[in-house]
Symmetry: C2
Subunit: 488 residues, 2 copies
């Protein structure tokens, strides 16, 4: 294969492009095709020929492998894929990704990524502006979890700048406050940072899953009485399961009073900032110290596309920059070292994730992006109404975001008294989603996730994002779940 | 744009594919085309139309934007791009990346990434086997820096499992030993982890840049006398600048004796494991506790492609797993939860990086990959000889890897006495690389990096990777640097 003629390689790539276009773009909206062609791990291991051979495979063989990958992979761009906080395939984002891929560079210096560095700086400014920061800085990152980690790291450094050099040893016990519905990455990050997951204190939520601010105040005071030092509150705009928006203005008041860093995890809900109708869900976000937002979630940019910003213009530099003579030379003659943006982050080599977002934003314009967000909300509202009026469906709570959470009660359980305090009832209810999930997976008709929460039995979490989804699809979801549950 | 007809979108994508093929693949080996068409940041800002508009751009406009991106981006696949520890474009890896992109999923669960999960498990086993681990575990990661961070985190957890919950507070002062030529990510990671960069202790190196083991022993003893607790040694296989391989067998002896975790940063040099001729450079690597290796460096997989493995089969799970009911349900009926590999890492959503590597490995076979590595070494050896015999070129040290480091002495400095102890001489020498770099950047003929090291004046670091590079290119490098330096 090393010796393959260049024209053969071009023919091969053209065949791959044709396959990608057909399977990944043209047919992706075909509702008659399955979302997933499910095989168990042992079945799939039999089918796939994973072993690395001594000799090269032929182009024909490689194309067959690609076809297999398509056959057995989940079609996350399918209009009936609702399983995660991402869905759909934006063709312009995809185009930007392919251009990025063939250019194959790292974004740490202007030297090797001039266009992309300027593009990132521009878009991060744009995001800061959308949030309402007067000034700021930021970076693209390899995950919302990673962005949350940056927020935690900056918050700690902000209060205890000595920590970079001398570590946690010289610090008192420091504590973080998050809603009990906040993302689990905050716990894992606290462990990683040497703070310890025990010092991530869970604050109560109200019936809609929003952080309870009187409990926040109380928990802060309790921590102080114990001799711990609060330093950070993480508010969530769009919680993972319910899609709740923590009350940012009130939380910001408390943080200002107690001099705590306010990090907003808007990984999921940050998309509302593009909609003049729904951006008020994030009201107060400009008062935060930092924000994590994933364009690859509600905005439908291709994975990965995650952004971290802070209003503190110098904080990333002060927290992370060290002398690195081999990469960030200070004697470059052709441009200023501020364009070597790798210096202010922890990553060294970093994949370019900005072009796909930029091209997508150019392709739709801000009006198109607003339409996209509004459509997701409209579909979610339609689904909510259907849940409310259809027998056998019970809303968990009224959605703030485009997560629609509901229980499905099969016919034979509908005679039982609805009581979430009744263990027996809850046990029976908890058995339902795994079985319906099994049914939808094997039929390939639909993909929706489920989970328990706060002791409630497992319920479905329908996540609406993809702008190819219609209100007919919302009706299909109800009908299909009912069909799959009809003989339970 | 939201309302664009699907056939128009397909036409657009086909145009993008054509452009990508032409600019990124067909013409990339054309040595008459520039490696870089350099513009300063202010020039480039004038040229690029970065602003996000209200209204959608036309397909024609979007294609123009893509053309601009190509025009002003660095051609890292060009045979005369030697600037970083990555180079070249593997067309099969690129094909795998495009398939990955259009499938647009996260690899945290078997549920949404069945093929990719099995592929990752398989390849990680393969890597463990190459290293010589009897068993093990691992993950793909978003960077070599990130992989090193995982090694550091596991090492700390291994000795102090309580740290996940209670943080660094309950720990004594813990210290890490690295060679003074080790990658800077180790310092940044120590800061992030709350250990503190002061507690990353730099061990002396020999004249070839390899860790000095008697100094390692001494530094460990000094730390112990001070009451600190050594817990980790990070050895490097292929240092960033010189490409030195730390003596793993001796280091492993010390680590075994002192019960220290041995993490091997083989981000760069790990590629030698694919060559029966050069794998002995990593002799002893099987004795490590963990390894970081970047296939996107020497093996030429598309960025990002980074791997972390550990011989301790349960360590990732024990260190990182927590209960996450919304994502890692324990009541899935269709497969065992061990296939939800996201549970054992810190990342939540994670981009799929395995397909491009797997497809590339299938395309070349292990024999093809061996040929690739051997060719890089052959080219580097040719270049080394040229440096040795050409007037005005002075080798920094004999290379172990495919980094060839040398000074260029312009004619008017050749009469000066060669003395690296002479400040005046060093100052004059240090002025040379930035000017030559400026010249090569503006002519677009070549890209090579430079840096100072250990008080020596800046020298060039030629990194040979791309298998399209020939010995003629090695001669070109010498001639071109000489030409650019002829009137200095
Ligand atoms: C609210 C919230 N924050 C953070 C994350 C983590 O983002 P990522 O999966 O990109 O790491 C998620 C992921 O679902 C999330 O829902
Ligand atoms: C020896 C070594 N280790 C680790 C790294 C970090 O890898 P990455 O840039 O992928 O973070 C590098 C990068 O050049 C390196 O040379």
């Amino acid at each position: 294969m090393n010796g393959c003629h260049e024209s053969d390689i071009e023919t091969f790539l053209k065949s791959v492009f044709d396959l990608v276009l057909k399977e990944g773009v043209t047919e992706i909206n075909d509702r008659t095709k399955p979302v997933i062609n499910f095989k168990t791990p042992s079945e799939l291991k039999q089918i796939l020929d994973l072993a690395i051979p001594a000799k090269p495979a032929s182009h024909a063989q490689l194309l067959e492998y690609c076809e297999q990958v398509f056959k057995y992979s989940v079609k996350t761009g399918h209009p009936r894929f609702f399983n995660q906080l991402y869905a759909g395939l934006d063709p312009y984002g995809f185009a930007g990704q392919v251009v990025t891929d063939v250019l194959n560079t790292s974004i740490y210096t202007y030297e090797v990524a001039p266009v992309f560095v300027l593009m990132e700086k521009y878009l991060l400014d744009h995001v800061c502006h959308l949030i309402g920061y007067k000034e700021g800085d930021g970076t693209f990152s390899p995950g919302g979890s990673y962005s949350n980690m940056l927020g935690m790291n900056l918050a700690r450094f902000h209060k205890f700048p000595q920590v970079s050099k001398t570590g946690m040893r010289a610090l008192p016990r420091i504590v973080i406050f998050v809603s009990k519905h906040s993302h689990y990455s905050n716990k894992k990050n606290a462990s990683l940072l040497g703070i310890g997951s025990d010092d991530v204190i869970a604050v109560a939520t109200d019936n809609s899953g929003r952080m309870d601010c009187s409990d926040l105040k109380q928990k802060i005071e309790e921590a102080e009485i114990q001799g711990a030092t609060p330093f950070l509150v993480i508010a969530t705009c769009g919680t993972t399961v319910l899609g709740a928006f923590d009350p940012l203005e009130k939380i910001a008041d408390i943080c200002e009073d107690k001099k705590l860093w306010l990090h907003v995890d808007a990984a999921w809900g940050g998309g509302v900032l593009f909609s003049s109708k729904y951006r008020q869900l994030c009201k107060g976000i400009h008062r935060s110290d930092s924000v994590a937002w994933n364009p690859h979630k509600m905005l439908m940019a291709p994975l990965q596309c995650c952004v971290f910003v802070t209003k503190h213009s110098n904080k990333l530099v002060k927290c992370h920059s060290i002398e690195v003579p081999y990469l960030f030379q200070q004697d470059k003659t052709l441009y200023s070292s501020e364009y070597d943006i790798g210096s202010k982050v922890i990553q060294c080599g970093r994949k370019v994730d900005v072009l796909k977002l930029w091209l997508m934003m150019k392709a739709h314009g801000s009006t198109g992006l607003e339409t996209r967000i509004n459509k997701a909300f409209l579909n979610a509202q339609k689904l909510t109404k259907l849940v409310e009026v259809t027998e056998g469906f019970e809303l968990v709570c009224k959605p703030e975001c485009t997560n629609v959470c509901f229980w499905y009660i099969p016919k034979r359980l509908r005679s039982l008294k609805w009581s979430l305090d009744d263990d027996n009832f809850c046990r029976k209810m908890a058995q339902v989603p795994p079985l319906i999930k099994e049914g939808m997976t094997q039929s390939g008709s639909l993909m929706v996730g489920y989970q328990p929460l706060d002791g409630k039995p497992s319920f479905f979490r329908m996540v609406v994002i993809n702008d190819k989804v219609t209100t007919d699809d919302m009706e299909f979801v109800i009908k299909e779940i009912d069909r799959l549950g009809s003989d339970l």
